[in-house]
Amino acid sequence: MSPILSVKDLHVTFGSEAGPVRAVRGLSFDLERGQTMAIVGESGSGKSVTSLAVMGLHPDSARIEGSITLDGEELLGKSDDAMSSIRGKRIAMVFQDPLSALTPVYTIGDQIVETLLIHSPMTKAQAWDRAVELLDAVGIPDPATRAKSFPFEFSGGMRQRVMIAMAMANDPDVIIADEPTTALDVTIQAQVLEVLKKAQKETGAAMILITHDLGVVAGAADDVTVMYAGRPVEQGSVDDIFYRPQMPYTIGLLGTVPRLDHSGDTALPVLEGTPPSVVSLAPGCPFAPRCPLADDSCRSIEPELESTDSPSHRVACFKAREISEQGHSHHDIFPTPAIRTSQYADLPRDERETVLELSQLRKHFPLMKGALYRRQVGTVKAVDDIDLDIRRGETVGLVGESGSGKSTTLLEILELSKPQSGAISILGKDTATLTRRQRREMRRHIQVVFQDPMAAVDPRMPVFDIIAEPLGAFKMGKAEIEERVFDLLDLVGLEASHADRYPQHFSGGQRQRIGIARALALNPEILVLDEPVSALDVSIQAGVINLLADLQGRLGLSYLFVAHDLAVIRHVADRVAVMYLGSIVEIGQVDEVYTRPTHPYTQALMSAIPIPDPGVERSRQRIVLTGDLPSPANPPSGCAFRSRCPKYAQLDSAQQAVCAGSAPVLSSCGADHRVACHFGEALTVL
């Protein structure tokens, strides 16, 4: 069978003030009908540029060389008009951000009808019927009425379904999905991936899946191309890449990702450094500066992509033979730093001091309506009577999807004021009773690291001033501050010379280190971490996670670690609390919860997370949750999860009445493992 899409030696170059940006260098691949190829790479590796080049959507200033043929027809050099008749008809695209990919002022139906009418001769009524049919195919409930809704009435996951419906509208030959699930929650991601698969099956199209998530690749792709600094560095079938990787970068990527199905007692191997800028590339392999195996030949000549043992598995590395012959795994290649263990590690949990305790913490937001006379029309229960305690030297993970109340909980703690109801107690002191001065003094003991490393540090301040700021706020002497800042820089693995640079001269991982140094400046005992690694590239994450673990060991810190990524939590946390709609539904020792998840939501969450192992992915039975998170202003009666609960659907009507009638409370179901479910049963999902 001849390939439907064939890319040969593609080069894309942009002009810039600093010199030509060589975004893609020498990419080739063939794609057959019904096949899915994943392009994996970190930000700036050229994966999105590739998709734009195929679609002919690249900016005019880009210089493109090579060849892209669709069913034997050359696409490069076609005019924009000619490409317009191909785009949407033969090649369709699903974008990353469903929130901005739909026009807000037209209804969903109108937008699908528009794509249909442009490319095929049909009447408006026919097109409308087809649009409803498509919405039904992607799983939009009640499609005939929903087609008349506007995009803002849809949730993110629903909008992504609409995007998929539009992509499959004209029966395309190729679907390009550019990070289609990155902006979505895990349970929604699982639904969207299913829909994508269905769309591909129905249209018989070939698919290019662009992503940085190796788990998604393992579950969805047939072939994989790994890109680094604009170059394909390894190509092959999904099994080749995951089980027999030969390029150190691929090996490193696979090895440094925390795994959902492995407990995290040891440090992660680290891929040092950051990806190079594609503006001024040094000669030689672009990965050489970060590669522990690199020698002089790697630094002088760039290796070509060459076939290895099997013709379809191609690697650009001089060391590939050596790696495959000696069977190197990531442990052999990449250094695993030693991580100090905390002095509290041996102490049983019950004998440790409680550093942070939430009891029946509640934060409800009133919903107001009306302009002149404002009246309350409802309540959003963002945090609803939660209990949580953190002992000295331990890490408690707080997981949940967006809207589950994790961030509100954090902000409530950090305000250090009297909560709406319930109590927050830090180091044994109730925050409600603090005076102004005591509250300020208390800030020394509890500090925060934010998610977005760019937004968390003031872009106008040099690094020294950023780290010195909390010290100045507590009236430390100038000389003392100077010394402390350099100590802190050293502590988080930055150089003293970085002190007078501005934050934007640093990579994401380095910026996050600046944020951590600032948080540690006052020698806090508790560190609140709000998704500290989720905005970082995969190869950078491991370094920051190791740093946090090491700091905890050295300084005896206690962490409250909020994340949506369950794999990261499994690696870093000692205990984990799962939140759903403002309540904790399951809490316990981390390995206990991961091996014996008992709440149906926890089970669904874990089963929704793709695991970077194709064999495991193929044999896994997924629990896919239906629907979206219900509005927190109007949650279902009784158990808030019952509207999406797979277990609830299997219960008989008497049992269902129990779920609808009363909200379950946390009750013990094992040593240090509590769950809030009337009918919870442990289940192995990993």
């Binding site: 040099p462 150089e495 003293a496 934007q504 001269h505």
Partner: protein, 302 residues
């Protein structure tokens, strides 16, 4: 960019450059800004020094030499009243400089203080400040200033009163913009981080919020200088501004404009000075904006 800036820096460890030094270095790199700054300094020096060195003072009348073209006795000619244009221009320039900068500094200070306070604290302070802004915006400023200036008929220090009044009616728009910018900055993570570090509110406003809108404030300040000089010109033209025998660029220009075709020297000298003055101030404003804003084009090279 990251790798090479860091590589180059490792040669000089432990030598830290303060923020003001960095800003200065970046400012000095901008040629136009340096020229503008020199221009302003030169104009200020001229305004201070030259009045004592000139053969005539601005309020002296040389009877018998009315509307004379430039010659050896009066280098830039004389006015209808027989006063020396050069001396008047120098004096007018110093008045305009003082009025321009006083008004600009005052109104920018008022607007950023009130705007940031309103947005950062919210609740009643925001409501009351917004109410004051609305009140000042609906009062016709020209009329009020004219009435007050008329009532205050002593020429001495009339410029100071004028400057205060111009500033009092010039801050509202900027305050609104500052407020809305502060609202968007207020929930940035670095502002939250500063709050959770225990920094008092006034310090957060001064260190994290105002510097991050400094581009706007600097542009506002430079435009404010031009605005103040022009407003002063308008008021002076109708006789409500700087009063004779005191003079400003505005009064000179309005006086010269009527005779510009027949006696061009009275008009052209102050007009050229005005253009140079405003251009210098703008060049400095641009330079400062680039130097303070690490995201601007010269950012990576500091």
């Amino acid at each position: 960019m990251t790798t090479d800036t860091i590589a180059e820096s490792t040669a000089t460890p432990r030598r830290r450059m303060s923020r003001s030094k960095l800003t200065l270095r970046r400012f000095l790199r901008n040629k136009m800004a340096v020229v503008g700054a020199c221009g302003i300094v030169a104009l200020i020096l001229i305004a201070i020094i030259t009045p004592h060195m000139l053969p005539w003072t601005y309020d002296q009348i040389d009877s018998g030499h009315f509307l004379k073209a430039p010659d050896g006795r009066h280098w830039l000619g004389t006015t209808q009243a027989g006063r020396d244009v050069l001396a008047m221009t120098v004096h007018g320039m110093s008045r305009s400089l003082i009025i321009g900068f006083t008004v600009a500094v005052l109104q920018t200070t008022i607007s950023c203080t009130l705007g940031a306070t309103a947005a950062y604290f919210g609740r009643w302070s925001e409501k009351s400040i917004m109410w004051v802004i609305d009140l000042f915006q609906i009062i016709p400023s020209f009329l009020v200033i004219a009435v007050i200036m008329k009532g205050h008929s002593t020429p001495k220090n009339s410029w100071l009163l004028l400057a205060l009044l111009l500033a009092a009616w010039g801050w509202m728009m900027t305050a609104r913009v500052v407020r809305s910018l502060t609202l968007s900055l207020k929930h940035r993570e670095y502002v939250l981080a500063a709050k959770y570090m225990g920094l008092p509110a006034y310090k957060i406003i001064a260190r994290h919020i105002l510097p991050n809108i400094s581009s706007l404030l600097i542009v506002d300040l430079t435009l404010g200088v031009g605005y103040a000089i022009l407003a002063e010109t308008g008021l002076s033209f109708f006789g409500f501004g700087v009063m004779a025998p005191d003079t400003s660029l505005g009064t000179l220009i309005s006086e010269g404009a009527r005779l510009a075709t027949t006696y061009p020297w009275i008009f052209s000298a102050p007009a050229i000075v005005l253009v140079i003055l405003v251009m210098c101030v703008n060049a400095v404003g641009d330079g400062l904006r680039d130097a303070l804003d690490p995201n601007s084009s010269s950012g990576g090279r500091a």
